[in-house]
């Protein structure tokens, strides 16, 4: 039984270890280890395409996680006040959002955005004077941000709501008894108490967006994010450079998620 568990752990960590190991290989070959070297890390960090993809990924992850945290918190606080069947419907929608496979979300977002563009673009063109170049909406960073915000919003709602349910109602009642208007109660009492959950939700959303491939694949248009870059590089053949990027991405996601978990854990103890 013990041996079996050990084998499962070996199964879980071998692929990760192999990627990390080969990223330090000095040779060109991705399947033979030819001496230790960190040159592929340097190569990756000096590759302008990698840096551009990384920049896009960071911008999309940061903006969408920020939007999802703000909107998600508002939604969670708002949902607290709703009771009965309406509440059940909202709950169902949120669970569906978490359950639907990313690929369906990707397609749905692509189609919905294109439909919106088809309506908005002629309208925008009609506002601009004849002969000038009217702005046109298209797929790219903004559509990516919109799609990721929508997908991670549900995650933030779930986390913040779990924290809200753990709060003592007496605290906000006491605040109201002391004549604080609802907004001041929210700002001075509720917000500081749920802040760790919001921060954890932000970090989870950030990691999700940063790691997401499938939704981005559909809505990024001609933009590249790091996972899209990695995917197309693998198609051309795995190199130690891809392994170096992969190792860095895995480490970064891991650090962020560990921080998110620690924040949630600590706030639960208090």
């Amino acid at each position: 039984m013990r041996l079996y568990s050990l084998l499962v752990y070996v199964f879980l960590y071998t692929p990760i270890a192999i990627i990390a190991l080969f990223s330090f290989s000095a040779g060109r070959s991705a399947s033979q280890f030819e001496g230790f070297s960190v040159k592929w890390y340097g190569r990756a960090l000096n590759n302008p395409f990698v840096m551009e993809a990384l920049g896009n990924s960071l911008i999309v992850a940061f903006v969408s996680a920020t939007l999802a945290s703000i909107l998600g918190t508002l939604a969670a606080v708002g949902l607290q006040g709703i009771k009965g069947p309406a509440r059940a419907i909202f709950d169902a929608i949120i669970y569906i959002a978490v359950m639907i496979p990313g690929i369906v979300i990707g397609i749905a977002t692509l189609i919905a955005l294109v439909t919106v563009f088809d309506v908005v673009n002629p309208w925008l063109a009609s506002l601009w004077p004849e002969g000038s170049n009217p702005p046109a909406l298209s797929m790219g960073t903004p559509s990516l941000i919109a799609a990721h915000t929508m997908f991670t919003l549900a995650l933030v709602v779930l986390i913040v709501r779990a924290r809200l349910q753990g709060l003592e109602a007496a605290l906000s009642e006491a605040s109201a008894d002391l004549y604080a208007p609802p907004f001041r109660t929210f700002r001075l009492i509720t917000l500081p108490l749920i802040a760790p959950a919001i921060l954890a939700g932000f970090l989870l959303s950030f990691t999700f967006s940063f790691d997401d491939f499938i939704i981005a694949f559909f809505v990024a248009g001609s933009e590249t994010t790091l996972p899209i870059y990695i995917f197309s590089s693998i198609r051309r053949g795995v190199t130690p450079e891809v392994n170096a990027i992969g190792t860095m991405v895995m480490l970064a996601s891991l650090v962020l998620l560990v921080i998110a978990q620690l924040i949630l854990r600590r706030s639960d103890k208090r």
């Binding site: 039984m1 879980l12 990627i19 569906i96 496979p101 369906v104 992969g246």
Partner: protein, 263 residues
């Protein structure tokens, strides 16, 4: 905000492909009549997704059992976190690692040294199944662990005090008590597998493809959005039906179990 995009997919599935790719509005069932041309993708998905789920369950259960019932509480959390950590890192990167392992210079080369020559692993249903099990194992371990961890250990003692062998105790007490965890784990993994794209794309090598791969192809390569939407609607329908049937089965299973326990 979520219902809207999904209904747009439904509307698109009744339309037609524009000559240059894209979509023109129409009301036709033509796209649905064309669905059989993507039958292989549906077949692959509907065989490999349940198979992968089952394989993950078989591998995950003993581990979850070991962690929940047999492990010193001091180590429990650490060992559980170690199972989940890989799940937190990019599935893209973890999946492509298997190209090395299953590819010509990985396991097959190793097998050659023991005399097994010409074994082909990469770009087969086997490779896709391994990738699936690897990618989703943590998601299976976790709910089963939670169910088994909640199990009152005194029940197991009572069972053996009453003369049951460890095997009887497992089949009559432990297994029924963990059904809810098994059900949750299987459903989570199965639902995610139905929409899988990456693992078959990387490890199936164009030969073992899922509905997800057909969707990417239809939307991004051949730009046949109307047909792609019909395929997506079909996928959602198949998912809804299988999940509903599955939930019914589970609730019946747990209902009969309660009858037995009343006896």
């Amino acid at each position: 905000m979520l219902v809207l995009p999904l209904s747009v997919v439904l509307v698109f599935s009744f339309g037609e492909r524009a000559p240059a790719g894209g979509w023109v509005p129409a009301f036709t069932f033509e796209q649905y009549a064309n669905l059989p041309s993507r039958l292989t993708a549906f077949k692959n998905t509907l065989t490999l997704a349940p198979l992968g789920t089952l394989a993950a369950l078989i591998i995950a259960y003993p581990l979850a059992y070991q962690l929940a019932v047999r492990t010193d509480p001091k180590w429990k959390t650490i060992l559980l976190v170690l199972v989940i950590v890989p799940f937190w890192t990019s599935i893209l990167i973890r999946s492509y690692a298997w190209i090395f392992i299953l590819g010509g210079q990985g396991l097959p080369a190793l097998l050659e040294t023991v005399g097994l020559e010409g074994v082909r692993l990469i770009y087969t249903p086997f490779a896709v199944t391994v990738g699936i099990v690897y990618g989703y194992l943590p998601l299976m371990v976790f709910p089963i662990y939670v169910a088994l961890d909640r199990l009152d250990k005194r029940l197991l003692e009572a069972s053996s005090d009453l003369g049951a062998t460890p095997f009887t105790t497992f089949v009559r007490v432990t297994l029924p008590m963990s059904i809810s965890g098994i059900a949750t784990g299987c459903m989570l993994v199965f639902i995610l597998l139905m929409g899988e794209f990456l693992i078959p794309a990387l490890l199936g090598g164009g030969k073992v493809f899922f509905v997800g791969n057909a969707l990417v192809d239809l939307f991004l390569q051949s730009r046949n959005w109307a047909f792609g939407s019909a395929v997506a609607v079909m996928l959602i329908l198949v998912m809804l039906v299988t999940v509903t049937v599955y939930m019914r089965l589970i609730s019946r299973l747990s209902a009969t179990r309660e009858d037995v326990s009343i006896m």
